[in-house]
Symmetry: C2
Subunit: 169 residues, 2 copies
Amino acid sequence: MAGYAKGAARREEILRVALEVFTGGGYHGSSTREIATRVGLSEAGLFHHFGSKQQLLAAVLEARDARDALDADDPVAGLVALVRRNAGAPELVRLFAVTSAEATAPDHAAHDGFAARYARLCALLAAALGDPAHARLVVAAVDGLQVQWLYDPSIDMAADLELLLESLA
Amino acid sequence: MAGYAKGAARREEILRVALEVFTGGGYHGSSTREIATRVGLSEAGLFHHFGSKQQLLAAVLEARDARDALDADDPVAGLVALVRRNAGAPELVRLFAVTSAEATAPDHAAHDGFAARYARLCALLAAALGDPAHARLVVAAVDGLQVQWLYDPSIDMAADLELLLESLA
DNA sequence: GTCTATACCAAGATAGAC
DNA sequence: GTCTATCTTGGTATAGAC
């Protein structure tokens, strides 16, 4: 038994609140104390469910990423739609951008998850586009455009991505 | 003005040591205490020259970026060469990737510097490529490919970038 | 009802920015 | 030195299997 029903429900609630707090103040600007308080737990209680702040972050992003999974039938269209949706959630985009960069460090709690996510994404797109290098470029463009868009929200990320897709076709 | 010259030399030394420390342990994994000690200063002395850890980071990256400035005559070739050079300095690439993402927060000390850097880079490449959207895509690809390469060093970033440049031509 | 794994808390150790 | 942050230690309470 991995846990009791009460624990599972609590973990769901923690993930929900932690996403709110992390997007609100950024990962490093947020405290585990605030998350614990808002969930109605002590910090020790929080760490019982997620062993460290970094592991909590990894779990939060993995849960969110699962919600945004691309349809294998048409991942390209799904990606464009996702980018368009992301234009409504700059704080979430920033949290992903920061963490995907920080988790390149091999000892980061989210390292393996992000490495697997990139491999999965690229494989899916390589199958759809017929070229692994094209897949890498599309994924890179999405990541890079999102950062540029955070600096300059007048950029139309989805339009730029579609231009790339046409150029690669 | 001997006092001023001494301060300038000290600041140079701080920037040199801080770059080493930040690339070694990552920004958040490094302490201002270690930087101060290695320079032979108290922490208060360090903060006299650079008001905060974040401002020191901003200064470190700005100095490094100035060293890698692209030649206006052929920025595209310069960018490819830079990407190729970066493949020898993963920790520096990570520091830039993390900071460019974190500095999207408007209150980050490096925000204005990075925003200006992206605007400058894109303008330079737009002039060379004849299309602002192409410039944004090339810059995005460089940023995104570097992150993917940190997860999987078998990726040939420069080759992928050249493929993009051909596709956009 | 007993027993074990899980849920949770109080207090404190350690460390970093400034 | 001050303040704040993460995480540990050592413990109690409870959920749920048998």
